[in-house]
Amino acid sequence: MGAGHRHQLYRPGNTVVHRLPPQCKLPAVAAFAVVVVATPREVFWAFGVYALLLAAVASVARVPASFMLRRMVIEVPFVVFAVALPVIGLGERVEVLGLSLSAQGLWAAWNILAKATLGVMASILLAATTEPRMMLLGAQRLRLPSLLVQIAMFMLRYMDVILDEMRRMRVARESRGFAARDVRHLPVLAKSAGALFIRSYERGERVHLAMLSRGYNGSMPIMNDATASARSWATAALLPAAALATAVLSWSVS
């Protein structure tokens, strides 16, 4: 377990993007998202430039488009909402293909779709090129509260264990002919949740004792301390810098 099991979110590779220290990538992606959100929605070409920037990063990192598209399914609920916006939006109406749509609703739908899609793509690229363990190491190096980082570390490490436990409980329920169909079946699900909590909590106690007996004193030892050079910072800053230049241009144009 210490070796870090591979996640389906992570695509191992040895490209420039993969090799960048995580403490550089995290702020770069966050800054990129902020710049995208701050861009006025009327400037269509700016969003095209952002998409091209992300595509460039993806091609450098050798992340195939099919992988990105599969992961972008997470966005679907808000796509549905965005599609509904022009229909239910306020303001003046415009005729599009025989439908009366709200002009502002169209703008808002475009705004949410474009910005959310770019944000999701950036996050996917980050997760695809950074091992979860390394990402947390990067967060630690960025001086995030160590307690928060440790909690996230334990969560990531035991997430699959807990999910598997839940899956086994579901298999056990279903092999006994249970299917949650209406409200009367809630007590069964709730008892499963209760049992899962007790198992998780007791596992936490065991983990804590095991760690204490191995010399845990409240902070995790750092195994590979990757320091970031000025060069890697500069490389990581390329994406947000290019985005910022685009945004500044778009502000001055609009």
């Binding site: 992606v29 949410i112 959310a116």
Partner: protein
């Protein structure tokens, strides 16, 4: 309910981010008191549990199903501070690893789903547990009420943020009705499953339920002769806990919030005016159903109104903060006393 990027404008995202960061800071200190050096592993495992339980779909009505948010459940089971941290970590992991919820919307997501649900749910829970007789049923009922209230309140928080800085041109009242209606139903489901889960844990390991610590029966010693003596734990002297750091922190939060809110209020007219000038008319403002309220109309009116709006927003922000801070302060004091009693 994970808000993506671009749903709220930049000022609201930043203000919510500052609020979330402050709240997390408070909870990091509080969680250490709830769990001491066990915090990291225990909270990590509980966060994994919350993550798993959010995947547990339960049937709400015919054909539709909802899933648990888990804020109140976590607060009742492990205490409010740890609960906020756990749900926040779940949201952070979902944002950074699963691309679920925008990175710039993390502040909004953490504020609504981690802080508001947990604080409101736990406050309602404590209120009922304190006034009701000590029993497991009371704890379960209180857990139900806490969870059932917390979800619509979070939805209303979303609506309020949407009112201040949403990017979609939908009637705020219709958003309120839609969000409120749906989330009252979801809240009921959440309440039922929270209460049932809490009661099932209470039946097996009552010592694990943080919210049921008051249920511990006193130790009774019986001799062979039939004499029974109740061992009353010695009351430990109340530690002199200074209120100043908390008050100073609260004031800081208030100032921060008021500052950011008024920053927003001063920048907002530009945004509204921009929309109005883009469209060449102010139909938007006229069609606003809440046009009489101080925040709604200030975009098109004179500077005096703007100042008023800034003032109202600032005062409202500080008021909310004082109430929230007071609630946290009260909870911390009570917790301290309960913890001392338990230690003795």
């Amino acid at each position: 309910m994970h808000v993506p990027d671009g749903f709220f404008n930049a000022p609201v995202s930043i203000a919510a981010g500052a609020f979330a960061a402050t709240g997390l800071g408070v909870c990091l200190r509080g969680a250490r008191r709830e769990l001491d050096d066990r915090t990291a592993p225990m909270a990590g495992l509980v966060a994994a549990f919350i993550f798993a339980v959010q995947m547990l779909n339960f049937p709400v009505a015919a054909g539709t199903s909802g899933h648990l948010l888990g804020g109140t459940l976590a607060a009742v089971l492990v205490g409010p501070y740890t609960a906020v941290l756990c749900v926040a970590v779940v949201l952070l992991v979902q944002g950074f690893f699963f691309a679920d919820g925008g990175l710039t919307a993390l502040g909004v997501n953490i504020t609504l789903m981690a802080i508001v649900t947990t604080v409101v749910g736990y406050a309602v829970f404590r209120l009922i547990v304190r006034s009701a007789p000590r029993s497991r049923t009371a704890v379960s009922v209180a857990a139900f009420a806490g969870a059932a209230v917390s979800v619509p309140v979070a939805a209303m928080g979303f609506t309020a943020l949407f009112w201040v800085g949403g990017t979609a041109p939908i009637d705020v009242s219709s958003v309120a009705i839609a969000m409120g209606g749906v989330h009252v139903l979801i809240g009921l489901g959440e309440g039922v499953i929270t209460a049932l889960t809490v009661s099932s844990v209470l039946a097996v390991r009552p010592d694990l339920v943080y919210g049921a610590r008051g249920l511990k029966a006193p130790l009774v010693l019986r001799t062979a002769g039939g004499q029974s003596t109740e061992v009353t734990p010695e009351a430990a002297p109340e530690p002199a806990r200074s209120a100043w750091p908390l008050l100073a922190g609260g004031a800081l939060v208030a100032v921060l919030l008021a500052g950011v809110v008024s920053f927003y209020a001063s920048s907002s007219p530009d945004g509204l005016e921009k929309v109005a000038s883009d469209k060449g008319l102010n139909t938007h403002q006229e069609s606003h159903p809440l046009g009489g309220s101080p925040l709604a109309g200030y975009g098109g009116k004179a500077v005096g109104d703007q100042r008023l709006a800034v003032g109202v927003a600032g005062v409202a922000g500080v008021g909310i903060t004082v109430v929230a801070g007071g609630a946290i302060f009260y909870a911390v004091r009570r917790r301290g006393r309960v913890a001392d009693r338990a230690r003795a």
